[in-house]
């Protein structure tokens, strides 16, 4: 993988449930609007590949990682905690700790829905800068934007409010865009969504 591809990739480790979709979609949009590529396990449509292998591959290929642990909570049916997100965060941190020079340059953003909530279930990450998005898409966009701007030091990243305005415009256009490709909004795959976002941003360039 080329260095530019690696340094422009952002691994998104977050829940994929419908409740979280508003935050997820906002984060993916912000990543693309900042000039990066949002990547997640859903981008690989290969049933023959084991899920964890897909995740290893994407982590290996991404310099940045956004880890949202806001849904680390007890499952209603099983009464057990959902631990996929903390596990993938652990994989990312391990790659940074034990990987080669390129892997060591990894940077991550940890998100939760409330400040300090993580201390009661994953206290080992205390000391890292954990941001709370309060389940607010606009807040999540601004956090992601500021983090990408600071850690990449790119001068081409628009301001948080500007990205929020563009996201709002994009949300207005989205139902018609889906109509154009004859799918309903809730039928969109991750690849559909990222391709729509990327083409829309190119058409509506800054």
């Amino acid at each position: 993988m080329s260095t530019s591809k690696y340094s422009g990739s952002v691994f998104i480790n977050c829940p994929f449930d419908t409740q979280y979709l508003t935050i997820f979609n906002a984060i993916v949009f912000a990543v693309f609007d900042c000039g990066f590529v949002a990547r997640c396990a859903m981008e690989i449509d290969d049933s023959s590949q084991v899920r964890i292998d897909k995740i290893f591959k994407i982590i290996q290929g991404s310099n940045y990682g956004i880890h949202d642990i806001s849904r680390t909570e007890l499952d209603d049916k099983t009464g057990l905690p959902r631990f996929n997100m903390p596990l993938e965060l652990g994989l990312f941190l391990s790659a940074k700790r034990f990987g080669d020079k390129r892997q060591k340059s990894k940077v991550c953003l940890i998100l939760d829905r409330e400040p300090f909530r993580y201390q009661s279930f994953i206290s080992d990450i205390a000391g890292q800068d954990i941001k709370d998005h309060s389940n607010d898409p606009e807040k999540a966009i601004k956090i992601v934007r500021d983090w990408l701007s600071d850690s990449s030091r790119r001068k081409t990243i628009p301001g948080g409010r500007e990205i929020c305005r563009r996201y709002s415009k994009f949300r207005t256009d989205l139902p018609m865009l889906c109509g154009g490709i004859r799918i309903e909004e809730d039928e969109m795959t991750f690849n559909d969504y990222t391709n729509i976002v990327s083409v829309w941003l190119n058409q509506n360039s800054l």
Partner: protein
């Protein structure tokens, strides 16, 4: 600030779908451009008509219009947009006024039409619009404009005479 580059996603989709997305994005941009260029007073007149339309009819109309707009090639849409933009506000207002005068008759006809019939009508219009070449559509728009002018002139003359 330097221009930032929007990257292509890592996940792949078919070339056909990608082309459809590109086309849809361009069409929505064209539609947005039209909406942005419509003067406030024209928009107000349109709003007045829209406000009187019952919800279920409006919903059916919007769905049908959306389908027409999405299926229309970008160049055809641009031709329509140009024609609409050329119509002066006064003419548009006169047309709306005329429509408002005939409101009772129009409303009665529209009210009696079931939603399914509106959908059938829109589908038929859609087929016609889709099959029509841009030049023919342009000619049609010009003819429609001339006819409106002639109609308005006759109405004005009639009103003057009656007065």
């Amino acid at each position: 600030m330097a221009q930032r580059t929007v990257k292509s996603p890592a996940g792949k989709i078919s070339a056909r779908k990608k082309a459809a997305i590109r086309e849809a994005v361009m069409k929505v941009a064209a539609l947005n451009a039209v909406a942005m260029e419509i003067p406030v007073e024209r928009m107000e007149a349109l709003k007045a008509v829209a406000m009187k339309m019952p919800m279920e009819k409006m919903a059916a109309l919007m769905t049908a219009l959306k389908a027409v707009a999405m299926e229309m090639p970008v160049d055809k849409m641009e031709a329509l947009r140009a024609a609409a933009m050329e119509m002066p506000v006064e003419k548009m207002a006169a047309l709306m006024e005329e429509a408002m005068e005939k409101r009772e008759t129009l409303n009665a006809a529209a009210m009696e039409m079931p939603v399914e019939k509106i959908a059938i009508l829109m589908a038929a219009l859609k087929r016609v619009a889709m099959e029509m070449p841009v030049e023919k559509m342009d000619a049609l728009m010009t003819a429609a404009r001339k006819k409106t002018e002639a109609l308005m002139s006759t109405t004005r003359k009639k009103t003057t005479k009656e007065n």
